[in-house]
C-alpha cells in the first residue's frame, strides 16, 4: 500500500463525478443536498492530500474552514427543506410548480 498523491486525486475526482451525477439526475432535495456534500468532501480530501505534499498548512486550514461552512450551509438548507416539506408534503423539487414562466 503506497501513499501516492495521485491515488487521492483519483478518488477525489471519482467523488466529484458521483456528486455531479447525483445533482443532475436526482430531483429529491435531500438527495441533491447529499450529492453537493459529496462534492465538498471531495474538495476537502483534495486539500488535505495536497497539504501533505506541499510545505505549508494552508490546505489543512482551508479544509477546516470549508467543513465548518458546509455545516452552516447544510443547517440552512435542511431548514428550508423542512419548511417546504410542511407546505407540500414532499421534497421533490420537480413537484414544486408555483413558479413557471
Amino acid at each position: 500500500m503506497t501513499n501516492e498523491l495521485i491515488d487521492f486525486v483519483i478518488i477525489s475526482i471519482a467523488l466529484l463525478a458521483i456528486g455531479i451525477y447525483g445533482v443532475s439526475v436526482k430531483r429529491n432535495a435531500i438527495r441533491m443536498l447529499f450529492a453537493i456534500e459529496i462534492i465538498i468532501n471531495a474538495a476537502n480530501l483534495n486539500l488535505v492530500a495536497f497539504a501533505r505534499f506541499i510545505p505549508n498548512s494552508q490546505g489543512q486550514t482551508f479544509a477546516l474552514f470549508s467543513i465548518a461552512i458546509a455545516a452552516a450551509e447544510v443547517a440552512v438548507g435542511l431548514a428550508l427543506i423542512i419548511v417546504a416539506y410542511r407546505m407540500y408534503k414532499n421534497v421533490d423539487i420537480a413537484e414544486f410548480r408555483s413558479l413557471k414562466g
Binding site: 453537493i36 486539500l47 440552512v76 428550508l80 414544486f96 408555483s98 413558479l99
Partner: protein
C-alpha cells in the same frame, strides 16, 4: 498587515456589530410592532459605512494598485468601487423594506441578515486570498438563502429559496473544488501567487488547470446568471420578496463579477489560452437568451429577472475583451455600478407596487402612471436606463462596453460582440416599452392612491443618481479609470 483603519476592517466592525446586536435588541424589547426601529438602525450602520468608504476615496488614501497583496484583504480603488455599489444596493433595500416589512414577522432578523450579507458582498470584492474569498462568498450567500424564503407562509417564496439554495450550494461546492485544484497546482491560496504559479505551470498539468478555471467560471457563473447556469434565476427572482430580489439582482450578482474579475480573468490570462473567445461566446449566449426570454414573460419580476441575465451578458463583453483593451474592464465596472442602481430601483419599485396593490402581472399595471405617479416615474427611469436611452446613466456604460469591443480590433470577433449588444439593447427596448405603454397609455382615469413613503425616497434617490450620472458622467468615469490600471498592469505583461 492590513491597517486597522482601512475600509474593509471598519466595515466588518460596524456592520458586523450592528448585525449581531439587532436580534438581541428585538429579544430585549417587550413591545412588538414598530419594525422601523430595526430598519433605522441598519440604515444608520450602512450610511456610516458608505460614508467612511467615500471619505477614504475622496481623501485619496486608497492606493490604486494593490490588487494582489500578500495579505488576505487588499485595500484598493477597485474594491472600493464595488464596496460603494454594494452598500448603495443594501441601503436601497433597507429603506425600501421599511414599508414592505410593516406587519411582517421577525423584522430584526431580516435587517440583521441584510447587514451580514452586505459584509460578505463587500469582502468578496476586497479579498485577495482564495480562502478569504470563499468565506466571504458563503457569508454573502447563506443569509440570502434565508432571506429569499423569508415569507414563510408563501409557497412561491419557499420554492424560490429552495431552488436558490440548491444551486447556490452547488456553485460553492464547485468553487471549493476549483480552489483545491489550484492549491494543489501552485501550493498557495493567495491569488497573486496562484496567478504567477499558473503562468509558469508544467504543461503536463495543464488539463487540471483548465478544469480548475472552468470550475471557477461555472461556480461564479451560477451567481452571475450566465447561460447555461441561469435556470434557477428567474424562479428565484420571481418568488423571493421583491426587496430581497433587489438585493440578489443588484448585490450578490455584482459580487460574482468582483470575484470573476479577480480570479477568472487573471487565471485565463495566466494560462495563455483562448479563453477570451469562450467568454465572448458565453456573453453573446447570455444576452440573447436573457432578452429573448424576457419578451415572452407576463410577470414583471420574471421579465426583469431575464433582463438581468441579459445584462450579465453585456458586462461580460468587457471581461471578454479585457486582455486587449483597458476600456473593457472600465466599461464593465461602470456598468456594474449603474446596473446595481437601476436594477435595485426597478425591483424596489415593484416592491412598492406589491405593497400598495399586490400585483406583479404586467397586464394589471394598466394606468399605474396615474395611480402611483412617483413610483411609476422611478420605474420608467430605471427601465429606460436599463435599455440604455441617452439622458440616463445606462447609456454611457453601454457606450463604453460596446465601444471597447469595437475599439480593440485585435481579435477579429470583437466587433461582433458590439453588434450583438446593440441588437439586444434594441430588443430589450421593446419589452421595456411595453411596460411603459401599459402604465401610461392604457386604462381609464384611475384615482391616485397613497404610495409607500420609504419607497418614494428610494425612487427619488435613484432618479437623481441615474439622470445625474447620465447628464454628467465624468466623475464616475474618472473613478472607474483609477480602479482599472490595477488590473491591466498585470494583464499586459503576461497576456
Amino acid at each position: 498587515m492590513i491597517e486597522i483603519t482601512s475600509p474593509p476592517v471598519i466595515l466588518i466592525a460596524i456592520l458586523g456589530t450592528i448585525g449581531m446586536i439587532l436580534p438581541v435588541i428585538s429579544i430585549l424589547r417587550k413591545e412588538k410592532g414598530s419594525s422601523s426601529l430595526y430598519g433605522a438602525i441598519a440604515f444608520g450602520a450602512l450610511i456610516a459605512s458608505i460614508g467612511y468608504v467615500v471619505y477614504e476615496v475622496f481623501t485619496n488614501q486608497i492606493p490604486q494598485s494593490a490588487l494582489f497583496s500578500g495579505d488576505v484583504l487588499a485595500n484598493d480603488s477597485f474594491s472600493a468601487l464595488f464596496a460603494i455599489a454594494m452598500l448603495i444596493v443594501s441601503i436601497m433595500t433597507t429603506v425600501g423594506s421599511f414599508n414592505f416589512m410593516r406587519g411582517q414577522s421577525h423584522p430584526a432578523v431580516y435587517y440583521s441578515l441584510i447587514l451580514l450579507s452586505t459584509i460578505g458582498m463587500v469582502l468578496v470584492a476586497y479579498s485577495t486570498d482564495l480562502v478569504m474569498l470563499f468565506v466571504a462568498w458563503e457569508l454573502m450567500s447563506i443569509p440570502t438563502y434565508v432571506l429569499a424564503g423569508f415569507m414563510k407562509k408563501n409557497p412561491s417564496s419557499n420554492e424560490a429559496a429552495l431552488k436558490y439554495f440548491l444551486f447556490g450550494a452547488l456553485s460553492s461546492a464547485i468553487i471549493v473544488y476549483g480552489i483545491s485544484l489550484v492549491y494543489g497546482l501552485t501550493g498557495s491560496t493567495n491569488i497573486g501567487v496562484v496567478i504567477a504559479g499558473l503562468a509558469t505551470l508544467d504543461p503536463q498539468m495543464m488539463p487540471l488547470a483548465i478544469l480548475a478555471v472552468g470550475m471557477f467560471i461555472a461556480g461564479f457563473g451560477f451567481k452571475m446568471g450566465l447561460v447555461p447556469f441561469h435556470m434557477w434565476l428567474p424562479d428565484t427572482y420571481e418568488g423571493a420578496p421583491p426587496t430581497i430580489t433587489a438585493l440578489l439582482a443588484a448585490g450578490t450578482k455584482k459580487a460574482g463579477f468582483a470575484a470573476a474579475l479577480r480570479v477568472i480573468i487573471m487565471g485565463t490570462v495566466a494560462l495563455n489560452l483562448d479563453w477570451s473567445f469562450a467568454l465572448a461566446v458565453i456573453a453573446v449566449m447570455t444576452m440573447t437568451v436573457g432578452n429573448v426570454a424576457a419578451i415572452m414573460q407576463k410577470n414583471i419580476s420574471r421579465m426583469l429577472a431575464y433582463s438581468s441575465i441579459g445584462h450579465a451578458g453585456y458586462i461580460l463583453i468587457g471581461l471578454a475583451v479585457a486582455p486587449f483593451t483597458i476600456l473593457g474592464i472600465q466599461g464593465s465596472l461602470f456598468h456594474i455600478l449603474n446596473h446595481a442602481v437601476m436594477k435595485g430601483a426597478a425591483f424596489i419599485a415593484i416592491a412598492g407596487i406589491v405593497v400598495a396593490l399586490g400585483i406583479t402581472n404586467i397586464d394589471k399595471l394598466k394606468g399605474l402612471g396615474r395611480k402611483m405617479p412617483i413610483i411609476s416615474i422611478g420605474l420608467v427611469i430605471s427601465l429606460l436606463a436599463l435599455a440604455g436611452v441617452p439622458p440616463t446613466a445606462g447609456f454611457w456604460s453601454k457606450l463604453m462596453l460596446f465601444g471597447s469591443a469595437l475599439d480593440t480590433g485585435v481579435p477579429s470577433w470583437a466587433p461582433w460582440l458590439a453588434i450583438a449588444g446593440v441588437l439586444n439593447s434594441a430588443l430589450s427596448l421593446a419589452y421595456y416599452g411595453w411596460i411603459i405603454r401599459k402604465m401610461y397609455f392604457e386604462g381609464e382615469t384611475e384615482k391616485r392612491i397613497a404610495e409607500p413613503k420609504s419607497i418614494i425616497a428610494v425612487m427619488i434617490f435613484s432618479i437623481i443618481f441615474l439622470v445625474g450620472i447620465g447628464v454628467y458622467p465624468d466623475p464616475i468615469i474618472d473613478f472607474t479609470k483609477t480602479a482599472v490600471p490595477s488590473l491591466s498592469a498585470l494583464i499586459t505583461p503576461s497576456g
